[in-house]
């Protein structure tokens, strides 16, 4: 019996299994770090993340990026098709330039036909002075990334029926379209977490009520709900308030999915020992949910939120189609697409459908980004 003794030396984990510095880095890394490492492996998702960051960055400096200001019209250049940008003139390198752009009116077909005037060369100007604008409402500026050369025009993506530059409109439209997704998801995120969290944590009648409400909302086709809700936005609201209203509507119908996810996860998590321990130690529900339970599913939530942003962006375009969403003079991608929504555009002015490209790009980017996030959200999986 006396052979047994208790060593008084402090326990050295290295004595059993030596860990290398790399292993140490891995084992002691925080959850977020692990996720980042894992996310980095997903190249496409990373690329999409960067792309999205750039696009959201662009909305801060839209005025600078757009060649023309939003209200600028060119009554001499109505329905101009995209104007080609050239590098070589008669085999000679000139740098980016455009030729003169002329139109003649085909009175027989009532069509404006454009052609290049090869005798005139207008090299593009960069970081140049153009239409003036106010930077974040703070100061005036007229600096643009690229603008039309003196006496020339620059309609890279063509113009619409009032001669407004499509590229500029798309860049300005991004502002509304991109933020609507973000704002909407924030609202539905909060709603989803709070309502789903309460249902999941308390269970019982709270849960039953929430379940019924979500069931009712989900069993509704969303279109009529959109229509009814947007019809009751007060008519006296200014366009920007209508914009918030629409965002809110999109969010109000979107939170149910999130709430369900939160609830079912919580139902499982609250049975875990650490949760019981916290409760026994007298933690209040808010603390238990907020401090112990939510972090366990937060990463999943972010991933699924990312994946529902595209639905919001598409929702905005659908509402605009029905004439219920945003309306001109507000410029969003949905508004632009709505204006492209007729047979004339498809057959005669196809470049007006170009706003569909950024919509597709953003939605794809969000999907891949979200996919990557979700894969990374579970860093302990193999």
């Amino acid at each position: 019996m006396s052979d047994h003794f208790v060593s008084r030396k402090p326990f050295d984990p290295q004595s059993i299994e030596a860990i290398t510095p790399e292993q140490e880095k891995l084992f002691f890394a925080s959850q977020w770090k692990l996720m980042w490492w894992r996310f980095k492996r997903h190249r496409l998702a990373l690329a999409c993340g960067v792309l999205l960051a750039l696009m959201y960055g662009s909305i801060l400096i839209a005025e600078f990026l757009a060649p023309y200001a939003l209200p600028t019209r060119h009554t001499d250049y109505i329905y101009s098709p995209p104007q080609p940008v050239h590098l070589y003139h008669q085999g000679e390198f000139v740098g980016p330039f455009v030729y003169g752009w002329q139109y003649n009116l085909n009175m027989d077909k009532l069509l404006r036909e454009y052609e290049e005037d090869r005798s005139q060369i207008y090299p593009l100007q960069f970081f140049c002075r153009g239409d003036s604008y106010s930077v974040w409402g703070l100061w005036e500026s007229d600096l643009h990334l690229v603008c039309a050369p003196e006496g020339g025009t620059l309609f890279i993506l063509g113009t619409d029926r009032l001669g407004r530059d499509m590229l500029s409109r798309i860049i300005y439209g991004a502002r509304i379209s991109l933020t609507i997704g973000l704002l909407g998801i924030t609202v539905s995120f909060v709603l989803g977490i709070v309502i789903g969290g309460l249902a999941g944590y308390y269970g019982g009648w709270v849960d039953a009520t929430v379940q019924r409400i979500t069931e009712v909302i989900r069993s509704f086709p969303e279109l009529p709900l959109w229509m009814a809700l947007s019809a009751i936005l007060p008519v006296t609201w200014s366009p920007i308030w209508v914009f918030f209203g629409i965002t809110l509507i999109l969010a109000m119908l979107d939170w149910t999915g999130l709430a369900r996810a939160v609830r079912s996860k919580l139902l499982a998590l609250r049975e875990e020992d650490y949760c019981a321990a916290a409760q026994l130690m007298g933690a209040r529900p808010a603390r238990v949910i907020g401090h112990h339970l939510l972090p366990g599913l937060f990463s999943h939530l972010i991933a699924s939120a990312t994946l529902s942003i595209p639905a919001m962006i598409l929702g905005e375009t659908a509402l605009s189609f029905l004439g219920l969403g945003l309306r001109p003079p507000i410029t969003s991608w949905g508004v632009l697409l709505n204006e492209a929504q007729n047979i004339n555009v498809v057959a005669v002015y196809p470049w007006l459908m170009l706003p569909v490209v950024p919509v597709i790009v953003v939605i794809l980017a969000f999907n891949f980004f979200g996919d990557g996030l979700r894969d990374a959200a579970d860093p302990y999986r193999s």
Partner: protein, 332 residues
């Protein structure tokens, strides 16, 4: 099991009553009523209005009655199969909906089949070849459908189908077959027109299905029994199809409930653009012109479909998957 079913069915009743009330509130929310939107429609075409007729209709349609009375009349009517009266058509709602429902179901079925035919192979491929170029490429393809606004895709396809194949624009059949009994020519004509809505509606649902199939398959493929199977030399394809695919199919069953309503309602805008003789355009027109009983009964019908669908898929799941059944019983 019987108790479980009974319980579920009883729970439906308050839900439906609640839904019916919400439906009625919602269709009444927009300002004005049917007659006002009727007047403005006439006006927008510059037509003259017979105010005496309007007053007569207002009284006849009971639009001057209080809200609750209108609701109770409508809701109690539905219990005995009277779904109200469509102002726009001047007919009972059931007469208006009629055979449109049939065409809607046909389109929905074709769309579901189309979606599955595309989603299954792609989903299986992308799950087994995770992060390969094929995975990215095919997923991209699937997402393209999701990301393109349906209504624009529909219009573009319509135009090019007309220019290249000479298919008549919009509708679900050539005009001469409308109101005619079914014949071989009519079936061919329907098939000629059917592909556009099926592709347009289908592409938007494909991406979601691919992604879920892929995720579920990936989960299953990680499980030990697959590893064991692989170690024992089961051929890869059999290994994929025999168990993991079957298990991951559960979610398809769980989805049946929401599938039909979501296809019907998701197809609404497309149906408007394509001018399909389905229920979607009627519903949208009814909502816009505040033809309230038509819109209301329609929404109730869709809600009922969902509620029943959820019930069926719950029951089917319980039957199919013993684990869920046990959990379900245990929870009570």
């Amino acid at each position: 099991m019987a108790r479980y079913i009974l319980n579920r069915i009883l729970l439906m009743i308050p839900t439906l009553i609640f839904i019916s009330f919400v439906v009625f509130v919602i269709i009444q929310l927009p300002p004005g009523d049917y007659l006002e939107s009727y007047i403005s429609e006439l006006q927008s075409h510059g037509e003259s209005i017979d105010m005496a007729e309007i007053e007569r209709l207002r009284a006849q349609y009971g639009l001057d009655q209080p809200f609750l009375l209108q609701y109770v009349t409508w809701a109690s009517g539905m219990l005995v199969g009277d779904f109200g009266y469509s102002f726009e058509y001047g007919l009972p709602v059931t007469d208006v909906v009629g055979d449109r429902l049939f065409l809607t179901v046909i389109i929905s079925i074709f769309t579901i089949i189309f979606t599955w035919m595309i989603a299954f192979p792609i989903g299986m491929y992308t799950a087994t070849h995770q992060y390969s170029w094929g995975d990215y490429g095919l997923t991209l393809l699937g997402f393209l459908g999701l990301a393109t606004p349906n209504f624009l895709l529909a219009l573009v396809m319509l135009y090019f189908a007309n220019v290249t194949f000479g298919t008549s624009i919009g509708g679900l059949m050539d005009a001469e077959y409308i109101n005619q009994p079914w014949s071989w020519g009519k079936v061919v004509s329907v098939l000629e027109h059917l592909w556009i809505p099926v592709v347009v509606i289908g592409t938007s649902g494909t991406a979601a299905m691919i992604r879920r199939l892929r995720a579920n398959l990936l989960d299953e493929l990680d499980k030990p029994y697959v590893t064991t199977g692989r170690a024992k030399g089961v051929p890869p394809f059999k290994l994929l199809v025999k168990y993991p695919l079957r298990v991951s199919l559960n979610f398809f069953v769980a989805d049946i409930g929401s599938m039909l309503p979501s296809i019907i309602s998701g197809a609404e805008i497309v149906a408007v653009v394509l001018s399909l003789p389905t229920t979607g355009p009627i519903l949208i027109a009814a909502l816009q012109s505040q033809d309230m009983y038509l819109a209301g009964s329609f929404l109730m019908f869709l809600a009922l479909l969902t509620v029943i669908g959820v019930l069926i898929s719950d029951l089917a799941l319980a039957l199919l998957d013993p684990r869920i059944r046990l959990q379900g019983e245990g929870a009570r």
